[in-house]
Symmetry: C2
Subunit: 477 residues, 2 copies
Amino acid sequence: MSSDVTHDPAVRAFVAEHRSRLVEELSAWLRIPSISADPEHADDVARSADWLAQRLVRAGFPTVEIWPTEGLPAVYAEWPSDDADAPTVVLYGHHDVQPADPIELWETSPFEPLVRATPYGEELVGRGAIDDKGQVYFHVVGLAAHLATTGRTSPAVNLKLVVEGEEESGSAHFAQLLRDHRDRLDCDVVVVSDTGVYGRDAISVCVGMRGMVEVQLEARGPAGDLHSGSFGGAVPNPVTVLARMVARLHDADGHVTLPGFYDRVVPLTDRERELLARLPYDEERWLANAQSTATYGEAGFTTFERIWARPTAEVNGLWGGYTGPGGKTIIPSEAHAKLSFRLVADQDPADVRPAMDRWLELLRAEGTIPAGIEVTAHYEKPGVGPFLTPLDHPALQSVTRAMGRAFGTEVLYTREGGSGPQAALAAVLGAPVVFLGVGLPDDRIHAPNEKADLEFLLAGAEAAAYLWADLAATWER
Amino acid sequence: MSSDVTHDPAVRAFVAEHRSRLVEELSAWLRIPSISADPEHADDVARSADWLAQRLVRAGFPTVEIWPTEGLPAVYAEWPSDDADAPTVVLYGHHDVQPADPIELWETSPFEPLVRATPYGEELVGRGAIDDKGQVYFHVVGLAAHLATTGRTSPAVNLKLVVEGEEESGSAHFAQLLRDHRDRLDCDVVVVSDTGVYGRDAISVCVGMRGMVEVQLEARGPAGDLHSGSFGGAVPNPVTVLARMVARLHDADGHVTLPGFYDRVVPLTDRERELLARLPYDEERWLANAQSTATYGEAGFTTFERIWARPTAEVNGLWGGYTGPGGKTIIPSEAHAKLSFRLVADQDPADVRPAMDRWLELLRAEGTIPAGIEVTAHYEKPGVGPFLTPLDHPALQSVTRAMGRAFGTEVLYTREGGSGPQAALAAVLGAPVVFLGVGLPDDRIHAPNEKADLEFLLAGAEAAAYLWADLAATWER
């Protein structure tokens, strides 16, 4: 896609000169065990926020603030462009990290970062090296390179940096934080640096994530558990009925049977399918990663298409009746199932509830839910929307060019099957989200011996430098 | 069936004369709180056994023994007939009782029995009044009447009385007890006095019970729980698969789909269906008892036929994945289901396992169990066989005549949907089992204010007196 665009020798030289400083400063930050899931590390998360805030002040940001939440603090920094028409970018990352457990599997101390040689160059080992301190820090180098090589005293874009402190513990207060600061976070585009590329041999950019709606179904039959001898065969069993409902949730081709479920699904274009198909897919490796022995799913779609571009319905949990040791010959009084629907653009989470209501009506009408069984659906949360950046979106084009120049290769496209705080960014800020991430599948995020390839962190810094200039140059307001 | 047979005035007079003694002696026994489920009452269960043993000695049994078990003791008494060709009867009852909880709902003290007037006569209120001390005790009166009115010095049948002490806590050691004493318990027929009639207006005899096989199914998918965003839609979900298996367990008509499951089922004869149909069935009352709002089941059968004469498959419990509060968006690694099959004559519990194996093969072949999901079946127990006494069996004819004479009415037939220690009697002793029981549906067995109608206990004694004479007179060896 950008094989005709070459790198800027000045940017590359600047970044290369800052290699040892990147290692030194990032290591200092990594030494702070900012584990958000562990209340005993709350002070460390605060120290981590302070460290970043001070570093951003030194980087030249005229506005740097610690944003407290009801949980752990985020860091906010703002550097307006001197150019009147500059686009405004919210840049997202997080400064908290995963716990180090199981600690005994680390080859080095998780919070004593260390540079090691690899067949590919060097790697920095330590908790947070790539997820996400390394990817926040490369922006400090990238911004400096942007300023130094363009001779600017302000970025080419209005830069608003939001670095969350609770991403690894569920981002419980992040959506509220965004809503509280909605006006200051007004922007044209959101850049997220918390993801990775498909592989060393397949540099890629993520263009979408699935949304999600969770629902709990309750099936109630007899008012109490019944003796299965005295009543078995003569009253409906709510566990059996719920099992039949789950069986009815997909048709023989693996399509979800909720009426109208696919109405707003944006079909994959031939171009998108072709691009996804170019990602090197090794089924054996994929299955090993999935701890599974066979793939499965909607007929007519590849594994990547199923996970990234198609909506799904999964049972996350189901229970009813006696589940202890031995036997208890009852007809259970009730049964429960937790379902989650993953949604793709342009499905709306708000549509799932009425579709579920129509589905339940259908199941009652056809007898899958018989007289004597009452089924209700409960929603604890409103759900999260999917998002998809069209391949021709200008911001995505800018990211693609920046990544292509930094890595000197064609850039492919992936999506994510899950949902993250990025969904809240897209929803609350109402802006397109693009991803500038340089993680590798073997970076062992959330696992012992997390690492970042130094060449990839430097490439990230280089891509960031290109991105601000490219966005400013190509953006049409 | 026996409306042309009248009562014997001498027997009825004997029984009526012993009414106050029955109340007095049975009350003394009921004062012993022989609660087998409560270890603190182990001594009371032993005292109860001693009380009965002494009473049987006084009744004239030449052999009376306490049979210890690894749990609580049974009482055994033997009284051979002087007649050389007399048939041999094992008479079964139990002397342990249910706990009295919830004690606050008793109108009288559960172990201070009391006679109260009712619209129908009098009732004896107290734990064990009908289940089962009252029904063991009426045999003492009945046997005395039999001897006194025939002028015999020994019963007309060889009588072997086995009164268990652990029935209300699961008969854990009963089958072993029967096996240990198998030779001494050799018999032609087993008479069980631990059940009831269909109603005050429908005197009946139970002619069969269902057997049972329990199986636990395990469905295993990914080696660990997976993130439903990263993998959802592309690997098989074991909970979904198990739900589909449960849905597949019955066809649209409610038939169980295990291959060959019905091969050995003895069909209901027209005569049996006609007799069952004559039992007064009040669906509203039946549903209230079932705590349900609708009946359900195999097409073409009535509620009684479904429960008593048809085999079933029920899910007693099913679980997999996340079952706690809130949501956890996983593809679970495994799922489990506890199933129980109720069997009717002449199904063999040993046939269920190979039928299940064939069923699993079928489900694999058709794709209900897809590649990537491993399903196994586990059996903790060998299962219990069903039994059914043919309507023309001589022992059943004797019981029918005895009940008909005692109650002065036609006798109908019921069955039981469950399985009890009677199944062990039939299996270990290899003899037909008939039921002589006079409980009423409103006797509140296992509940507060358990009672026995005195007229019914006396009718039981009268029926017992007729039974021994009838069996001896009509038995063909």
